[in-house]
Point group: C2
Chain length 486, copies 2
């Protein structure tokens, strides 16, 4: 394919930009006197930036405007190469670190999954935790760009469903100008929420350092924490409330906030089918888990149960993955329901993972339509979304997506089982990685960590996180021979 060099040329520019990210842990390390770490971050900056500049120079005669088709290769390459750059410094800053968990940790950060292979987080140099958390913030920026600006241009992703057209890339469209324009607006919204979140965490009682790191992992719906105990480190209702508010906000499409701003009215959110379903699901699940926790005797008072239920339902349904208690000890209904919600509850266009609420709505409408058609075969009963009729081809595409999603989960689970894991650990690890949720069940539950897995298992899960974050198709399309044909 003749487009490899132009794609690599763009990747080189992304690397140069990404190198700047090392300035954050570098500044932190210098400011707090972690001089050994500071040298590593400086090295990461120089290495990443240097490789990027070298690639740019080598490929200087191969730049051209990218076309839609190049986009598939680019996004996959970006999400494979950036974690590698981000992982190298972990080898020199985390004791006894090896390559597979380092790459897993970096992939988990940049895909905002939040599954960690590290234990003893509180004992790490602070700049390492800053790096982990800041990577999730960058991941969030990248994800918004990806799902709102890039994937729709490629004819993919949940946002695509709002276009009343057959999915398919806009072959002859220039990518860069449209992406840059969209990015500016979205990132502005993201930054404004970030500032509010940072201040709110500080006011609620976190140190500035903790507030910054948790702001990063809240806005990206990543869920990393610099503390092994996650939110149990504080046991503070105020801090949990701040987290609930901003996790919920980040689970909504950032495009909606544009509209809210333009119309100076929250009615945009209140009328949006996806947002309504999202909020309804969060509320209903919180109530259900609260009742189960009291009925089962885990908590004496409804208020105490409501507090943990709301926090964990929102945390897992938005695919964040914070924990304030070991919810794996609850009746299995609770954690299973919450992980299940994580598979679909967040809205397309947010930083959340999973299949997205809009796909779930389409699927439910299509299923309902088929049930009606069995007895009323000639009834005209089109599936609608946001006022427009959804064409059959779009529905077929969503359903193919679902099959590939299911096949990926079953296939990866079988691979994990082959490697010797038990069913609950294998299945839950695959689910939480492909849906970019974070903590699973069994050995990789909220009280455990992914460091107990072997290298092979970590590589499989790293691939799963990549697959899920790029909404499957953009990775798998690279595996079809048709992609590489003219």
């Amino acid at each position: 394919m003749d487009s490899l060099q132009p794609v690599l040329a763009v990747l080189a520019r992304v690397l140069v930009g990404f190198a700047a990210a090392f300035l954050v842990p570098l500044a932190w390390a210098v400011g707090t006197g972690e001089m050994a770490e500071a040298r590593v971050w400086a090295g990461g900056l120089l290495l990443t930036g240097g490789v990027g500049l070298l690639m740019r120079w080598v490929l200087r005669h191969h730049t051209r405007e990218l076309l839609a088709r190049d986009g598939f290769l680019l996004v996959t390459l970006v999400w494979i190469v950036l974690p590698a750059c981000a992982a190298v410094p972990l080898m020199f800053t985390v004791p006894r670190m090896t390559w597979a968990p380092a790459y897993f940790e970096a992939m988990s950060a940049l895909t905002a999954t939040g599954a960690t292979a590290l234990i003893g987080l509180d004992g790490l140099p602070v700049s390492v935790n800053v790096w982990r958390c800041f990577l999730q913030y960058i991941g969030g920026l990248g994800i918004i760009l990806l799902v709102v600006a890039v994937l729709p241009l490629l004819g993919l992703g949940g946002m695509q469903l709002y276009r009343a057209e057959t999915p398919g890339p806009l072959k002859d469209d220039k990518l860069t100008p449209r992406i840059a324009e969209t990015a500016r607006g979205l990132w502005t919204v993201y930054f404004m929420f970030s500032v509010a979140c940072l201040v709110a965490y500080r006011v609620a009682g976190m140190s500035w350092a903790d507030a910054f790191m948790h702001m990063c992992t809240t806005m990206g719906l990543g869920g990393f924490s610099p503390h092994d105990k996650s939110f149990a480190h504080w046991d503070s209702p105020a801090i949990e409330a701040v987290a609930i508010v901003f996790m919920t906000l980040a689970g909504v499409s950032f495009l909606r906030y544009f509209a809210v701003w333009r119309n100076r009215s929250l009615g945009v959110l209140a009328r949006d089918a996806e947002v309504r379903s999202y909020v309804t699901v969060l509320v209903v699940a919180t109530v259900a888990v609260t009742v189960v926790l009291v009925a089962h005797g885990n908590y004496d008072s409804y208020l105490a149960a409501l507090r943990v239920a709301a926090f964990h339902v929102v945390s897992l349904a938005t695919t964040t993955g914070y924990a304030s208690t070991d919810y794996a000890l609850w009746p299995a209904f609770g954690p299973v329901l919450m992980i299940f919600l994580g598979c679909f509850a967040s809205c397309a266009g947010s930083t959340g993972g999973g299949i997205k609420m809009v796909r779930m709505l389409l699927l439910l409408k299509q299923a309902r339509r088929e049930l009606v058609r069995i007895t009323h075969p000639r009834a005209v009963n089109p599936v609608t979304l946001g006022g427009g009729t959804v064409p059959a081809t779009v529905i077929a595409a969503v359903l193919a997506y679902m099959l590939i999603y299911g096949a990926s989960i079953v296939g990866l689970t079988l691979v994990m089982l082959l490697s010797g894991l038990d069913l609950v650990t294998a299945f839950s690890a695959v689910i939480v990685c492909v849906n970019n949720i974070g903590p699973g069940l069994g050995s990789v539950g909220p009280a455990g960590h992914f460091g107990v897995l072997n290298d092979f298992q970590l590589w499989v899960l790293s691939f799963g996180m990549l697959l899920g974050r790029l909404e499957l198709m953009s990775v798998l399309v690279l595996l079809t021979p048709q992609f590489w044909r003219k």
Copy 2:
């Protein structure tokens, strides 16, 4: 709805016919001197036949030809009422039997699921085991009729996919003549295989009684056994080989055997895409499990591993559920793979459960098509099956089916978890019931039984078996308000 009485009138006739089934355990009990049980079977005959005759008399002015729409109600009613009739005698013949496990057992028999709530099978009166097993034989007869003759007329079921038309019931078609004609041919094939299977089991070393009972549960792909140890009772390669052959045969559409007979050639089978995939899946899975068992050290020799792998792969993939060893002790990859195969491997038109291979083939083709369309949006690339193009509406129907299938499994699993079960038991129990496979994992594994579940859980699973056997839609359509409107 004005069609309730005509449907009940037909149900009455089904009851009268079903009453004759009690003659088999009655004859057995009389022949072997189980006089207490004989009275119960006679009572069952009189009760079922009496209720049927009474209903016929009451509804004698309400008979008319059934239309397609009545069919939905009829099949669901048949599969709810017959298990009730079959369950009553179990209350009087099995020690300490209560209503929920009795109904579960009868539902498991008539849907050919094979999940048993009984322990101490070897200690039961033989006529009870004859009844359990013979119910699976009748279940098999009913299933063939249902999937080949009834569901296609209702615009439902896997066989429907072979018609190159939009699914939808043939509203104005008379049901009975077409069903009767199809039934005659199919049941002839079923009987011929049954005789061969009976003789083969006897020759391989079973007693006539065991041969009869296992023939019943092999042909229906039910998997009940009169022995707690199932096929470990014999530990005979010859008996297992007979089982493998006839389970494999019963997992193929009985319509194919028509064609083989008419053309006097096995080429019909060799050319059929569904049969080829079915056989390929069985062979590949057997090899995979064999290798895992040897690699993991469960068996020293490849031959010994091949023997157990082939038997259990075929047993579970065809949704039979016989066991010759506690395969739950194998590396989890084995049982999980085998149960996964049970969810789709058997062919539409067989007595097997699950979503059927034809749906899986369609889904795979559709997924492949969408992946290609991402890079070649204007390519004409229709999904084909058996030489014909599959219309988009048929694909949409299959995909809606898959969503309802997934939603049923997740929903029922959450209900089972709410009732206090662990995840592996709850999830596997739901999977094996909705797919009519039989033994699950955890507490309901091959060495366990469903009698450890409480009444509520048994009722939920009874509903799951009904749902799966009637291919979901025919039950769920009854829950739509549109069904009950004119």
